[in-house]
Symmetry: C2
Subunit: 343 residues, 2 copies
C-alpha cells in the first residue's frame, strides 16, 4: 500500500472488493476514492460505506423477514446521502442507517452554533465538507433497547484559506426496562474501543454523553448513555480517524448480542405501552434539544426524511404518567434521573 | 355595576354565582377578584375561568363517558394554573384545557424573543404578569378535526416603571380529512366574531395564522388555519378585551357542531393510521416551532406536563410516507401545501 498510514486488513482488500459489499454505489466515484485514498474525505467515505453495510446486514440477518430499503439522494447545494430504512419488521419496528457526504457553504446559524461551542472561525459564508454515518434502531420488543450512533468528519475552510477539521460522534443506549447485565456489557464494549486510543477517552466521553442526552425540562436522561464527543482534532488526523473507526466498529459487538438475548422474550400490552411512552421522550429530546436534528432541519435543502428517520414508528404521551413506586418502570426512571457508572 | 365598562350579562351575574360553575377555585381569591373587578388582570382571570368551564362542560357532555381531571398547580416563582385533561374517552382521545395566571421576572430568553418580534423593552429582569387559556382537543375519530385555541393577556413593567400590556391568541383547526363544509363553517364562526370588532381583523389574523402554523422543513401548514394574533394593544384595553372575549366565545359554536356531525362516522384502520401520521406532524410543529411551547419549556419552574398536554396520545412517523395521488389523504395534503381562502 502507498498509504502513509498503517494499513488495516480492509485497507488491503481492493476497493472494488470492498465496494461490492456496500448498500449501493458510493456518492463519490470509486475511481476518485481510489486515487485520493489518503485524503481524509475519501477515507471517511469508505469507512462509513462499510459501517453502513456491515450494520444493515447484521440487522437484516437478525430480523429475518424484512430487508432495508435503500434510497440514494442528492442535495442540489452539493453532495448527498444514502438512507437505508427497515420498517415494520419482525424484530425491528423502525431501523434507519444513513450516511451523508455533503459540501457547500455553512449556513450562518451553523457557524453561530460552532462558535457558541468555542470554535474560532474567521469570516462568513464558509465552505464546508461533512461526511458521517448516523443510525437509530427501534426494536419492537420492549425488552430490547433502542440504540443510536453517529460518527462524522467535518472540514471548514476559513476566509484566509486555512482548513479546520474535526471528528465527532458517539453511541448510546435507550432501554425501556433496565437489564444491568446488558448495560454493563454495552458500556464495556465501548470502553474497550476507547481504551486502545487513550485511557481518558471512555470516562470523559461517557460523561459528555450523559450531559448531552439530557431532557432538561423533565430532569432525566434519554437513556443509559454510552459515549459522545465533538470537535476532536488531536493528536493528529490519522489517530483520531483510527479512534473513530474503533468506535464505529464497536457498534455491532456492543448491541447485537443484546438484541439476540432479548428478542424472544414475551411482553405484555402494559410493557408495550410503557415503551411507547418512553419513545415519546425520545421524540422530545430529538426535536427540542438534539443539535444534529436542529442543524439538519435548519439547513437549506435538508433532506428531512433522512433527518427524521430517527423518530420511532409510534410514540405516546399520557398526561402525568408516573410509574408505580418499586415497579420495573420506576427502576428505569430512577436510573434516568441519576446517571450511573457502569464499568 | 361600578365597572367603567359596558357590562355584559355575565358581568351582571354575581361573581359567586359565576364561580360556582368553574372547574375549581380560582388562583386569585374571589374577594380580590371582586374588589379589583376593573383591573384587567382580574377581568382576564374571570374570563378564562369561565371559558375553561364552558368548554370542558361542552366536551364532557359530548364524550358521555369520561370527565375532566382537574389539577391545580402552583409555581414557586409566583402564580400557577388549572389544568383539565380528559384522556381516552369515547369521543376524545386527549383533550386538554389549561389556564394559567403567573407573575415573576421575565427570563432573558423571553425578553429577547419579544424584542425580536419588535417590542421595545427597556432594561433587564423585568417583572411580568401573564394570564391565559390554552386548549388542544384530539378526538379519536379521524373524521373529527383537532382544534387548538389560546387567548392570553400580558403585562411587563419596564425599568422606569412604565407598564406595557398586550393580548394575543387564536383558534385553528387541524383536520385529517378535508370536509370543506366544516372548514367553511369554522372560519365563518371566527369571522363573525372578528367582524364585530374590526373589518380588517379576520383577513389579517387569518393570514397571520397561516404564516404561523407552518411546518417549514416540510413546506406545509399544520392544519387549515383559523385566526392568530399577538401584541394587540390598540385601540384601547377594553376594546381589545372585548375582541378577545368574542373570539374565545366563538370556540364552542365553531367547533362543537363539527364534532357532533362527524363523531359517529365509521372509519377504517387505514384512516386511523393516516390520522396518527398527521399527529406526528402536529408534534413536529409544537416541539420544533411553537413559540408558546419553547417559551414555556425554557421558563424556570415551568410545569411541563401542562405545556406538553397539547401532544396527542399517539403519533406515528413512517419513512417517506406519501399519499396516493387523488386519494382523500392527498386532497388534504394539497390544501396544507397551498393555504386557501375559506369565506
Amino acid at each position: 500500500s502507498l498509504s502513509l498510514f498503517k494499513s488495516s486488513p480492509e485497507e488491503e482488500e481492493s476497493l472494488q472488493a470492498q465496494a461490492s459489499k456496500w448498500m449501493c454505489e458510493p456518492l463519490t466515484s470509486l475511481d476518485h476514492l481510489q486515487k485520493n485514498s489518503s485524503d481524509m474525505k475519501c477515507r471517511m467515505e469508505v469507512l462509513i460505506m462499510r459501517i453502513q453495510a456491515d450494520f444493515c446486514r447484521a440487522l437484516e440477518e437478525l430480523d429475518g423477514e424484512k430487508k432495508f430499503v435503500v434510497d440514494k439522494w442528492h442535495r442540489k447545494e452539493g453532495g448527498g446521502g444514502i438512507t437505508c430504512v427497515l420498517q415494520d419488521g419482525t424484530t425491528f419496528e423502525k431501523a434507519g442507517v444513513n450516511i451523508s457526504v455533503v459540501q457547500g457553504m455553512l449556513p450562518p446559524s451553523a457557524v453561530q452554533q460552532m462558535r457558541a461551542r468555542g470554535k474560532k472561525l474567521e469570516g462568513e459564508n464558509l465552505p464546508f465538507f461533512a461526511a458521517g454515518v448516523s443510525s437509530v434502531i427501534h426494536p419492537k420488543n420492549p425488552h430490547i433497547p433502542t440504540v443510536h450512533f453517529n460518527y462524522r468528519y467535518f472540514e471548514v475552510t476559513e476566509r484566509d484559506g486555512t482548513k479546520q477539521w474535526w471528528f465527532g460522534g458517539g453511541t448510546d443506549l435507550t432501554p425501556y426496562y433496565l437489564d444491568k447485565e446488558d448495560v454493563v456489557s454495552f458500556h464495556k464494549a465501548l470502553k474497550t474501543a476507547c481504551d486502545k486510543h487513550g485511557k481518558n477517552y471512555y470516562p470523559e466521553y461517557k460523561k459528555w454523553c450523559d450531559d448531552y442526552f439530557y431532557i432538561k425540562h423533565r430532569g432525566e436522561s434519554r437513556g443509559v448513555g454510552g459515549i459522545f464527543f465533538d470537535d476532536l482534532d488531536a493528536p493528529n488526523q490519522d489517530k483520531v480517524f483510527q479512534f473513530v473507526k474503533s468506535c464505529a466498529d464497536a457498534v455491532i459487538p456492543s448491541y447485537i448480542p443484546i438484541v439476540k438475548k432479548n428478542r424472544n422474550k414475551p411482553y405484555s400490552y402494559a410493557e408495550r405501552t410503557w415503551q411507547l411512552l418512553r419513545r415519546g421522550r425520545y421524540v422530545e429530546f430529538n426535536l427540542i434539544y438534539d443539535r444534529g436534528t436542529k442543524f439538519g432541519l435548519y439547513t437549506p435543502g435538508a433532506r428531512y426524511e433522512s433527518i427524521l428517520m430517527s423518530l420511532p414508528l409510534t410514540a405516546r404521551w399520557e398526561y402525568m404518567h408516573t410509574p408505580k413506586k418499586g415497579s420495573r418502570e420506576d427502576e428505569l426512571t430512577q436510573v434516568l434521573k441519576n446517571p450511573q457508572e457502569w464499568v
